[in-house]
Amino acid sequence: MDLLEITRRAAALAQRKGAAEAAAASYRARHVEVSWRDGRLEKVTEATTRGLGLDLYVDGRFASVSTSDLREDALDRFVEDAVALARTLAPDPHRRLPEPALYAGQAKVDLELADPSYEALDAHARLRAAEAIEAAARGVPGAQVILSVTASASDTRGESALVQSNGFEGTRTGTDFWIGAEVTVKDPDGRRPEEYAASGGRHRSAMEPPESVGRRAAERALARIGSVKGGSAAMTMAIDARAAGRIVGALFGPLAAASLQQKRSFLEGKLGEPVGSALLDVKDDPLLPRGLGSRLYDAEGLAARAFPIFEGGRLRSYYVDTYYGRKLGMAPTTARTSNLTWSPGARSQAELLASMGEGVIVTGFLGGNSNGTTGDFSLGVRGFRVRGGRIAEPVGEMNVSGNHLQLWKRLAAVGNDPYPYSAMRTPTLVFEGVQFAGT
């Protein structure tokens, strides 16, 4: 059966069982993943999977369900039980479906989220790509100390449908294609440092040639050999574009209306205020063709549009969903980030490091956490010392710590290199005066 029809019937079932309003979302996806290690196939996973979720608005009360058991009689009983469950809860006047007016005005653009050539890929193409990744990794200078190469190739084609009983219906289809490599090398001191590289996107053409992914992973792993712990000091910190999503995510989490309403956000009351230096300039843009986070409507059916988050360092918008928006008396924007677009700098990472002179470039985080209520953070890092404007010895087993409300004001440079393989699209970021802990 057509996925939209399944979804309509689920919403209708919820209403028949006693929900005044309901939202139904269902998905179906085909996923194939191949991994290849040290000269042969390691693992192949292939499946077509499905699921259904319902939001039930019952007598001013709210419950939700999710299930992969779509047998008719089982679903019937399950929804009936969930409606009964909702009736036992406290009423919540803020739980209603979105204002239908917000469904209107979807952009008239083709986001090109599905690659029409998806079906044309055969299993051998994945294996050939994985094999080529390994060969390239083992072909770089110094490759004799490589202990293991795991290459992977995966793709997904997913369909979803959303029906909200007060006047929304939507469907979408998307694909994604990824290749990647993990390389482990032998350090003479007994450690076995690992690194990775990945590439992909909505269309097959977004993947780099497998050879460049394999080479990059191997070069990165080899560069970790002889890593040392640097001294404890306040230094300039550059963060590589690939790694920067970790620290940006910790800034964006507290922008959620749920965090504001629950008083767990260090960004409460900061609307219109400077939170970062003038270089912090970021839009949420759901309408980028082929974007990893692109969408015409969000999970609540709200028509998606671009809006500014930070302009010249000032906070311009929060992420407001319908429920917490009602609790706060704020108009909804959208619940979650789509794609982030950064006002890019003019310089490459190498140029930024050249003018930075001394410091550390962080290429990966390890553990640590960020306190969304206070803004305090403390994170494990690895990377390289920067000396005389150039990448010098690898460093690791170090921490950086601070508070986001100070950190972003010390944002001193932004690269021209947004990371294409994440919806956050972070460029290289440079911060001054960051506390490192090492020896």
Partner: protein, 487 residues
Amino acid sequence: MTTTERTAAGGGQTEGIGYFARFGVTERMIAETLAAALSRGGEHADVFFQHRVGADLGLEDGAVNRAHASVELGVGVRVVRGDQTGYGYTEDLSLPALLACARTAAAVADGPARPGPAALHVGGRLPDRYPLARPWEDVRPEEKLPILAALNEKAFAADPRVRKVNLYLRDEAGAILVAGSDGRIVEDRQPMTLLYLSVLAEDGGRREQNGYNVAGRAGFEFYTPDRLDRVVREAVARTAILFEAGSPPAGEMPVVLAAGSSGILLHEAIGHGMEADFNRKGVSIYADRIGKRIAQPFVHIVDDAANAGARGAINVDDEGNAAGTTRLVEGGVLATYLHDAISARHYGVQPTGNGRRESYRHPPLPRMRSTYMLPGPHRTEEIIRSVKRGIYCQNFSNGQVNIGAGDFTFYVKNGFLIEDGKLTRPVKDVNIIGNGPQALERVDMVSDDLAIDEGGWTCGKDGQSVPVSQGLPTVRVSSMTVGGRGS
């Protein structure tokens, strides 16, 4: 290879197709699926059925005003040839869907068909590590709601600075069924529950948030008055102390880990590195080190499936293998990796019952269960007294490790500075980083106060999350890097 079985008291569970009969699953269907799985020459095949029914209740702003009910029902078919794996899964439990899945997984091999099992047979009796007094299937929401309301009230009453309380109660019921091409068939009913209380407090314009959670493979009886009181007491105390806490200094110093959830040290510093898949591939810092001394002779570390009622307890692993107590480190010497069936065959040893998976959507991997260090010869007071200037870590939120480089971290939510052998100023929000083998080598004092943490820990690997437990006696590590910025 040293596994010991500690069988808990209790009735045991029946095996064979009991639970899954309600979904129309039959032995014949399983036998046909396994035969199709081996049709291309795989050496071993198994099917994994899962039914997991979850119920979540949430309290916010004084009212239990949200609930979520979930059902996961599906089956995964795996075919193994050497260390190669083919895997397929589906939510459709009909025979044609199972056969399609099996043929997909079979394609990992490329040879003449092998016969499926001639007959399926029920293995030995399983232990009963999660006996239930009140199974969740029989607990009505009306019984759970007053518990949340009472916790909310008590949390507000405990400290006038409390402004927001969030509560979350989850329970799970359901079962797994594993059947292998060796003909073995095992079914295990696996309950779980978790309660989380989070507190936001305000004091003179400053805000702090913290919480406490408890989890176990248990029924409604888990929530005794004592345990519920402890949840409120701990959540509020751990939040209140943050108002007095600051950041510790940056750099290397002695680290004392309090008994209990400090077991995160073992999980990250050695547990993951001892998972045999990483060693079989040669990518772990512990590869080729079995039989080598890596710690003081008083250091003994185990990974245990048999802690009755623990979140990390299992009666049987997700490959149908018996799960007992695995000794990772005995008297300071690396003893045994954590094996799944693939790695056990690779090393020519018995599986250790560590083959686990998040759900039917994933093939099994070597995973931890409940990881802890046995009591040692020192006393807690003596350990704290021995430190001139260092940090005492009490509560943790998360950790991570690089398997090959050995770098690992854990994030300390609450702790104290130790100055001249005494706990002085409270500290908070600090990441600690070390290197696995080096940190174990530097464990130079171990107390006799082992505690297994009752919290709801979840371990992530290869995109799969599984429930685990951990524990530790009070331990001193002579030096680690503390990610502070204070003085």
